[in-house]
């Protein structure tokens, strides 16, 4: 569904990504892991139209993604849950969700509230006054409001307690099963690999490893570098 082939990108003269090959299929959870500064966030920004590619292509169901504006990428069916959640802090949870459905004018909150029932009682609360975990749930719910075919989540675990991270990650298979593939960018490598079907390891701007998440979990290099094992 999402195909990245030979993509390179950067900021000005600083190149960040080299020759990236990546693919996400329908109803699939794919994790993208790697150390700080590897270019994970930049890759997501490329996929959502915020950063242009200098070479290579990004296609989504046959449509070219690179060269489109952020709004046009949303229209293609890709939604981006940015790092640090970026909710509208002074607006209510309800309004945050409704803004998520801006394109296509989706206003039905029921499907996302079924996924995150905890938000139901928070609908009229100001989003900025909720806990970090609730805010992340709200951000993901907001990202689902446009009924995307692909949702990219950047640093889901940022600033959250492990138990809260688990609680949110448990929802991802339901999201994928309902027809929204998930591309998860995570520093919590263990959690990211456990939930995903396939995964990519990004190191200094290049895909260092890729394959089934299960295999990567037991891969010696991954265990040594990221899981503190071995």
């Amino acid at each position: 569904m999402l195909e990245v082939s030979g993509a390179s990108a950067g900021y000005g003269r600083v190149q960040v990504l080299w020759d990236i090959e990546l693919r996400v299929d329908e109803r699939e959870i794919v994790s993208l892991v790697g150390p700080n500064g590897a270019g994970k966030t930049t890759l997501l920004r490329v996929l959502s139209g915020m950063v242009p590619v200098s070479s290579g292509t990004v296609t989504f169901r046959g449509d070219l993604v690179n060269g489109r504006s952020v709004e046009q990428v949303v229209e293609l069916g890709i939604s981006h849950v940015p790092e640090g959640r970026r909710l509208f802090p002074g607006l209510s949870v309800r309004d945050n969700l409704r803004l998520g459905g801006w394109r296509g004018k989706h206003t039905d909150l029921e499907p996302v509230l079924e996924l995150f029932p905890g938000l139901t009682t928070r609908l009229d609360q100001v989003a900025g006054s909720m806990s970090g975990g609730e805010q992340q749930m709200c951000a993901i719910a907001r990202g689902l409001m446009s009924r995307p075919e692909l949702m990219m989540i950047d640093e889901l675990s940022l600033g959250l307690a492990p138990v809260v991270v688990d609680e949110i990650i448990e929802r991802l298979p339901d999201i994928a099963a309902s027809g929204t593939s998930v591309l998860l960018v995570e520093q919590d490598v263990d959690a990211a690999l456990r939930v995903a079907a396939r995964a990519y390891v990004l190191e200094t701007g290049r895909i260092a490893l890729s394959g089934k998440a299960q295999d990567l979990l037991t891969d010696q290099r991954v265990q040594e570098s990221y899981l503190g094992l071995g």
Binding site: S48, V70, E71, V74, E75, S79, H80, P82, R86, L87, F88, P89, G90, L91, S92, R94, D95, R98, L99, G100, W102, R103, T107, D124, Q125, V126, G128, S129, R142, S146
Partner: protein, 346 residues
């Protein structure tokens, strides 16, 4: 500003289910009632009072116009007076050189100010915060110099006289009663525009931009288009007021029509009343303009000093504006001003 700002009402009140039709119609009903009251009031006023109230109407319109870009969208424009000047000069110049009727010059001035807003908005709205404020301030100051330096068209620093008497007059001077009604109409128009924006999809987009512009873009909102449109609407309303003002004053000068004090008054009225709301700028404009007039009569020597002190106290204790303070206090049940200061300390 604090990150925990006002919980603004949902843009589609029907969706909440708890809002009844009469609650949604309430602001419109109040507006109609207010209009009727103002029409009735006119016959009860002396000439001096009528002029005072006319000036209040003018500031109601100006404050609401600034509110569209500065309040809803969160782009503090410190050069708003440029639209006022453009509207005023467009009216004067077209009435003098093209012999247009005022009733034709007025909408033309509005359109001109709107177009100018779009043209300068496209580059300037890429700037944020202080940079946007300073850039717009520069545009207003620059435009004043331009107008001063083309005397063949604008009369330059000596001013230009709108033809209101004799054979040159294209439209008869409206007189006190006429201008009362004209400015009342403009004030009502600006209130209607602000009310519509505050409740529709476009206004919802502006609020999202105000909160987090990048996130608004990620929701699929075309932020450039929304910002430029808001700036144009704001400019158009301000330009219409400037056009009426030019006709009312008959003789206009660049120093008065591009006076930065007008911008400051608009900003202060909106901020004290409660920016981003419709009621706030209305209360701010009426309150401040009335207070200013009252002090001028009662304390001729020290009125600006007293007014300044009152403004400082108001901003310190109600940094988010009167309407937003009341809204929060009602929700939290905490009316303490000191708690309010603590919540919004910078």
């Amino acid at each position: 500003m604090s990150t925990v700002t006002e919980a603004e009402p949902s843009f589609d009140r029907q969706a909440t289910g708890s809002r009844l039709d009469w609650q949604r119609m309430l602001p419109w009903g109040l507006l109609a009632l207010l209009m009727a009251a103002m029409l009735g009031l006119q016959s009860q006023l002396y000439i001096g009072q009528e002029r005072t109230v006319t000036a209040i109407f003018m500031f109601v319109a100006l404050a609401q116009a600034w509110n569209v870009i500065g309040g809803f969208t969160g782009y503090a424009c410190f050069g708003q007076v440029v639209f006022f000047g453009i509207g005023g000069y467009a009216t004067a110049v077209t009435m003098v050189h093209w012999h247009l009727s005022f009733w034709l010059a007025l909408p033309l001035s509005g359109v001109g100010a709107a177009l100018f807003g779009a043209v300068i908005g496209l580059p300037l709205l890429r700037l944020k915060g202080h940079y946007f404020a300073i850039a717009t301030l520069g545009v207003a100051e620059g435009m004043r110099e331009v107008v001063t330096n083309v005397p063949a068209l604008t009369g330059g620093g000596a001013g230009i006289t709108v033809p209101t008497v004799g054979e040159d007059a294209t439209t008869a001077y409206l007189g006190n009663d006429g201008f009362y009604l004209l400015f009342l109409g403009i004030a009502a128009l600006s209130l209607v525009v602000a009310l519509v924006i505050s409740r529709n999809r476009f206004g919802f987009a502006l609020r999202a931009i105000h909160q987090d512009e990048d996130a608004a873009g990620a929701m699929g909102i075309n932020t450039t288009r929304a910002k430029v449109l808001a700036f144009s609407i704001s400019g158009m309303l301000t330009g219409l007021v400037g056009a009426c003002y030019a006709f009312q004053q008959v003789v206009i000068f660049p120093d008065r029509l591009f006076d930065v004090e007008l911008t400051v008054l608009m900003v202060v009225m909106v901020v004290i009343g409660g920016s981003g709301t419709v009621l706030g700028p209305l209360l701010g404009a009426v309150g401040l303009q009335y207070l200013s007039e009252y002090l001028r009569h009662s304390y001729t020597e020290a009125h600006t000093f007293i007014l300044g002190a009152i403004i400082i106290v108001a901003v310190v204790f109600l940094p988010q504006g009167f309407v937003n303070y009341v809204r929060e206090a009602r929700r939290s049940g905490d009316y303490s001003l000191l708690a309010n200061v603590r919540r919004y300390r910078l």
